[in-house]
């Protein structure tokens, strides 16, 4: 059991959770993720690390309620059954900042993708990088932790599909316009956004890193549920990733594989709503 310090709604569909999990973050670097289980019989849910305070042993997570398991997570108040981490490989730039000295880096975040982008930018700032972020979502209310992002970035370009905040349009609109100012792009968000970003940067032959978020069970290389096609070969996002060369990912396949349990998950959610209604 791990103590929950905070579990609060920060947007119409997202929550911020703070847990005491010193071991999961002691050796963590940005880009890595954790797996959490709400209760003993819960599903294992992979979540990217949003923030962490190694001295206090506090891990912060931002998650979106998208099904029965994340719904259950949002109801927890005191304790969470399991927090496993850090898992996966750290972001390549954060792991070797010296190799990237002098490079101009643009981060592109979509929706809840700002959560894993934030610790990377924060970390790289501490290593002397000046980093800009392009952050987009459907509408203003779905833009998260704006103040935090502005704290660590040199500049944040906002876009919304409906124009309710920042520029109206997509992150790729801003990226196309600003791309000549940068050498490297890191994109984290919905698969379709990462695909569109990679399509833009490919034209300019710009190094691009994306973070995949496929289905997972154990998160330690055992089940192969998270396999992605990278350069035509299967790779496990949990141990070979989650970050990959954005120009080598088969995004169409990744999108299809997100739907493997769509029907079953819907049933589980119905089942859960019913049982909640009973009590």
């Amino acid at each position: 059991m791990y103590k929950i310090l905070k579990n609060e709604k920060i947007s119409p569909n997202s929550y911020l959770m703070e847990v005491v999990a010193p071991e999961a973050i002691r050796n963590a670097l940005p880009g890595q993720f954790v797996i959490v289980m709400g209760k003993e019989d819960s599903e294992r849910i992979p979540l990217t690390i949003y923030d962490y305070d190694t001295n206090k042993g506090i891990l912060s997570l931002i998650y979106q309620v998208i099904g029965a398991s994340t719904e259950e997570l949002s109801t927890l108040t005191d304790e969470i059954f399991a927090v496993v981490g850090p898992l996966g490989k750290p972001n390549e730039i954060c792991a070797n900042p010296n190799e990237f000295k002098g490079k101009r880096i643009i981060y592109v975040a979509g929706g809840v993708g700002i959560a894993p982008v934030y610790p990377q930018v924060k970390y790289l700032k501490s290593k002397g990088f000046d980093i800009d972020i392009i952050y987009g979502s459907r509408e203003k209310d779905l833009l998260l932790i704006r103040d935090k992002a502005e704290d660590v970035a040199r500049k944040v370009f906002y876009t919304t599909d409906d124009g309710s905040f920042g520029e109206q349009g997509f992150v790729t609109t801003v990226l196309e316009r600003e791309i000549h100012n940068y050498d490297i792009c890191v994109a984290i968000g919905p698969v379709i956004m990462m695909k569109n970003v990679a399509d833009v940067t490919r034209k300019y032959n710009m190094k691009t890193i994306v973070s995949m978020n496929p289905l997972m069970v154990d998160g330690s290389g055992m089940c192969g549920a998270c396999r992605c096609e990278i350069e035509g070969k299967p790779k496990f996002a949990c141990i070979d990733g989650p970050e990959f060369d954005g120009h080598q990912v088969n995004y169409e396949l990744a999108m299809k594989r997100m739907n493997i349990y769509k029907e079953e998950e819907k049933e589980k959610w119905e089942q859960m709503k019913k049982s909640l209604g009973k009590h």
């Binding site: 071991e23 999961a24 002691r26 050796n27 890595q32 289980m37 019989d41 819960s42 599903e43 294992r44 029965a68 398991s69 259950e72 059954f81 399991a82 927090v83 496993v84 981490g85 850090p86 898992l87 069970v217 154990d218 330690s220 290389g221 055992m222 089940c223 192969g224 549920a225 396999r227 096609e229 299967p234 141990i239 396949l253 299809k256 594989r257 739907n259 493997i260 349990y261 029907e263 079953e264 998950e265 049933e267 589980k268 089942q271 859960m272 049982s275």
Partner: protein, 472 residues
Amino acid sequence: MGTNEEVPWKALGGVIMNEERVKMKAQDPNVRNKNFEEVELGFTKEEALKEASRCLHCKIPKCVEGCPVNIMIPEFIAALKEDDVKKAYDVISETSSLPAICGRVCPQEKQCESKCVRGLKGEAVAIGSLERYVADEAIKNNFTTIIKVPKNKVTVAIVGSGPAGLTCAGDLAKAGFEVTIFEVLHKAGGVLTYGIPEFRLPKSIVENQVKSLKKLGVRIRTNIPVGNAITLDNLQQEFDAVFVGTGAGLPKFMGIEGEDADGVFSANEILTRINLMGGFREDAKTPIKHAKKAYVIGGGNVAMDAVRCLKRLGVDAHIMYRRGEDELPARQMEVHHAKEEGVQFDLLQNPVRILVDEQNNVTGMEVVNMELTEPGEDGRRSVREVEGSNHVVECDMVVMALGTGPNHEALKGSNIVLTEKNLIQVDENGTKTSLDNVYAGGDAVTGAATVILAMEAGKKAAKEIIERFKTV
């Protein structure tokens, strides 16, 4: 359902002996293929005593040689004959930490029972079934074997809580060592927990065996990914010795077209969802993909476990194996049980391509027939494709049970030496790695093998560690 018929008894050399081996009762195949309860029901006291009476108590017991952990088989059976189950349990406990598990999943027919003298003319004594009886009675009656060894203050870290790690931990704790096990999953047991299904090894049994290790003072720390949260180097510095028993958990795929379809899974994924996450239960929170007809590709024990799980979930479940019946690597018993339960065996066939619709769902497989060649110089028959035999079979799920490779995530950042086959290199005694005071054993050293061989390796490493830290 086969009941035990009246067994003929006769006097032989002053000992009353029945000739026929007592068969363990099992759930009816047509009932059990719809539930996840244990297939074999275990011996009753009468059955156990009757079977125990068949042991000849050989002066030089070959069965003991056949046991990887050298359980003193005639001694425990003798105690059983005297109806002293507690003593029988104490005898087994001297060499084995996990008898309730061994009694169920060891391939006894290839080990102790294959050496039994009674087997020369008739049937071997059912040693495995007797071991299980003793262990189950011990659990039922809460037997504990009292260990009087004082703590020696030597600390040992064990990476992985599978059969190798648990056995090593048990032996070290019994010798007074302070043992801490690190496990990445949320439950201890490794393959015993995530891999072997409930109907073959109830999880309550594994939990019980883990609990008895805790009673010996073993600490188990779950949710810790060694290699990330803490490195092997850290462990080497913080503990006097380290044992690495990380197993062979990395699933293999065939590399054929269509393998990334939504209905293609590794056997590990299916088994983990079902066993570790309890996915077979109606109210489970972890889903299992619905399927009408599934092919499990492979012929080993893992393939049998996966196919029998799917059968129980109401799937038309098939094994597809590229060799023939005689070449199936699974335990005979598992094949027999699978057939009884209605699993179909499509032998001498191999998929060459998985057929997929526009939504990436599996619709079938293109399959080629195989034939066995004449035995080569090594006496082994290989297989080749039958030209022009390609045909299509329909299905909506394909499960790859092609064996597993070592998963060295836990070794990240260390300089430990690996072999050409990507396994952990050990010395001629088979346990010491290239790093000081770091030992290894089980599938991570040998490649995928059996539970009992992993236990043997854990035992051997414990012995070396005890030897190494013996105070003079």
